[in-house]
Amino acid sequence: MLTVTPSRTNAFDADAFEQFIASRREPEWVTDLRRNAFEIYRELLMTELDPEEWKRVDIRAFRPEKFSIPTLTKSVATFDTLLADRAEFAGFITHIDTVSSQPKLDEELARQGVLFGSLSEIVQTHGDILMPHLMTRAVTPDADRFAAWHAAFWTGGTVLYVPRNVQIEKPLHSLIGMATDGAADFSHTLIILEEGASATLLEETASATPTAAGLHVGAVELLLADRSNLCYVQLQNWNDKVWHFAHQAGRVEASASLQWTAGAIGAKLAHIHQEVFLDGKGAAAEVNGVTFASEKQMISYYTQQTHNAPNTRSDLLYKDVVRDHARCVWRGMIKVAIDAQKTDGYQRNDSLLLSETCRVDAIPGLEIEADDVRCTHGATCGQVDEEQLFYCMCRGLRRVEAMHLIVEGFFQRVYDRIPVEIVRETLGQAVEKKLGIS
């Protein structure tokens, strides 16, 4: 019997980087991007992280050297996916330990010029389409050390490109999985919608086992040209041994509309920097968050809604439930540029604390330069109401069951905003599973 230990690159130093570059055999413009990003990464490693974003997120226990990018051997692993098999998809792709499956895409869509596949493939085949967008407009390497690290070492991920006026009715599905203990995943999601295009991408992350430690340093870029419509969902469902760092940004041009839902169930520690930019007149973004942290999990969000053009609308609603010794941090900001008159900005975070030992920090914020805007923000934080529990118990529900019903009701307001039924169902079931009901 032969036991094969996967060989890996050694951490993320200069030698490892050169080896990594050599193994990729990418077009020169991609290699140049990586080299530039690696330089920035080395500089930013020496620089303190922005305290405004990071002061409530303790990453002292994080040891990057424990993780490495698995070599390109195909992993065989199965995943409890939450979304796959649940609906008919127009296309799907999986990335396991950075290795992408052969993507499937509806033939008619392919004929219409839709690209759907792995970033590693598509930079080779359609570099001209990706070049203007890849890490130039939404997430740039100089944003912070994690963005730079990602830009130097991205390993693949899903690309969706939808040409002008092409409408994709059915959702597309993407799964990012980690199977090997100590694996690092640097997936990059890049969605480009040309004018008048529309699409829905449902993406989930999952671990093959409950014990394999992992690192995700990811990026999501959503680029919406005029009058396009995107519904993007990312359901983060790693096991609780995974460190998750992600820089995610959407840019929304004139009269385009982005609906973005972030679900966070898993991870040991997750920090997501999420930004929406309303760049064109009449652009709109709705951002939904469903977070459920338990045990010793720490889930942190730094969200920004940046209004750069007049008559733009943004509406963010995050709901978190925190239990045991878990922590949630949400730092939100609405920024309104001087030209962005008639902005309508809204942000709200509601937290429900299920134990005496959990903790939530919710800090909304506004920075407004224009003088004719409507911006509202709010945060609530509370425990399950004893009178609600009593009422439920008087109707034959046990205390724990009543608590669960109240938790599900708490999230319902976010579900009500999500038009895609399978997303509502999936989030609901993920929450139920975590509650231990199903």
Binding site: M393, G396, H404, G409, S438
Partner: protein, 276 residues
């Protein structure tokens, strides 16, 4: 054999203040009892104590259904044994649909051994049953999809309590001022609703200040509570008399309790309000 709810010499304190001072009462399935008394006399305290609100401490005495003591059971276990309280102030449960809530409740009440996660009663049967009950009570079936009591008017909330009563078919139902705060049309709807539901399988304790609910649901027994004790028990005519003439005559007949009531009101004007 019909079931018996037996309350024996019940003493109850709230925040260590005695509110009930020896209440005894027997209610059989099929009987309608009215409980009347001035504000602060302990009516709501008795209601909350019977269903097991944790703030109401039983210092002595017992509550039993067919000999099974309830004192140490939590509200859920009591509900599964057949106790039901129609709340004076029903709570709102945001995001939980009436239908989902009731499906859980009905399943648990009909299958008292059920544990969380075990299957709920079949959706199709449940929906039909719920729709039928709603139609009988003149309720818009759309209510089933609304979140429990969220944005409901006072009358809608009370009707929702009656709908729950209809779905759960408890052995013993306590109605805590279900007719208060309602206009006369709403009182009629609730009263008629209760009349349809109360039958040989249900013992009813109606707590009320008004007579309307009792016109539709004529009590065999009327109890008057004063300063935490039941001081008189009569038939429907006693309820009628109290309604027409107030409690002055009762206080005259029971000067000791009346004095206690006055004393009590100086100390704690409205202890019953704690539960609200």
């Amino acid at each position: 054999m019909s079931s018996l709810l037996k309350i024996t010499d019940l003493h109850v304190s709230v925040d260590e203040k005695p509110i009930l001072k020896g209440v005894s009462l027997e209610i059989r399935q099929g009987e309608i009892h009215a409980l009347m008394g001035p504000n602060g006399s302990g009516k709501s305290t008795l209601a909350y104590t019977l269903v097991g609100h944790p703030k109401y401490e039983v210092t002595s005495g017992s509550i039993e259904i067919d000999g099974v003591p309830l004192n140490d059971l939590d509200p859920c276990e009591r509900a599964r044994l057949g106790m039901f309280l129609a709340f004076q102030y029903p709570v709102t449960i945001p995001g939980v649909k009436v239908a989902d809530f009731l499906r859980h409740a009905v399943t648990n009440i009909r299958n008292p051994a059920r544990k969380e996660g075990e299957s709920l009663i079949p959706m199709r049967d449940f929906r039909k049953e719920l729709k039928d009950r709603m139609e009988e009570l003149g309720m818009d079936v759309e209510f089933a999809r609304r979140y429990l009591n969220e944005g409901f008017s006072g009358g809608e909330k009370k009707r929702m309590e009656i709908l729950q009563l209809a779905m759960l078919q408890p052995k013993f139902a306590i109605l805590d001022e279900t007719d208060s705060g309602l206009d006369s049309d709403a009182v009629r709807v609730v009263s008629e609703g209760l009349r349809k539901l109360a039958g040989p399988q249900m013992g009813v304790l109606i707590i009320t200040h008004h007579e309307r609910l009792l016109e539709y649901n004529v009590p065999q027994f009327t109890h008057v509570i004063l300063a935490g004790r039941i001081v008189e028990t009569g038939d429907a005519s006693l309820a009628h008399e109290l309604h027409n003439h107030g409690y002055a005559a009762v206080r005259q007949r029971h000067p000791a309790e009346a004095a206690e009531e006055q004393e009590h009101q100086k100390v704690a004007p409205k202890v019953a309000a704690i539960a609200k």
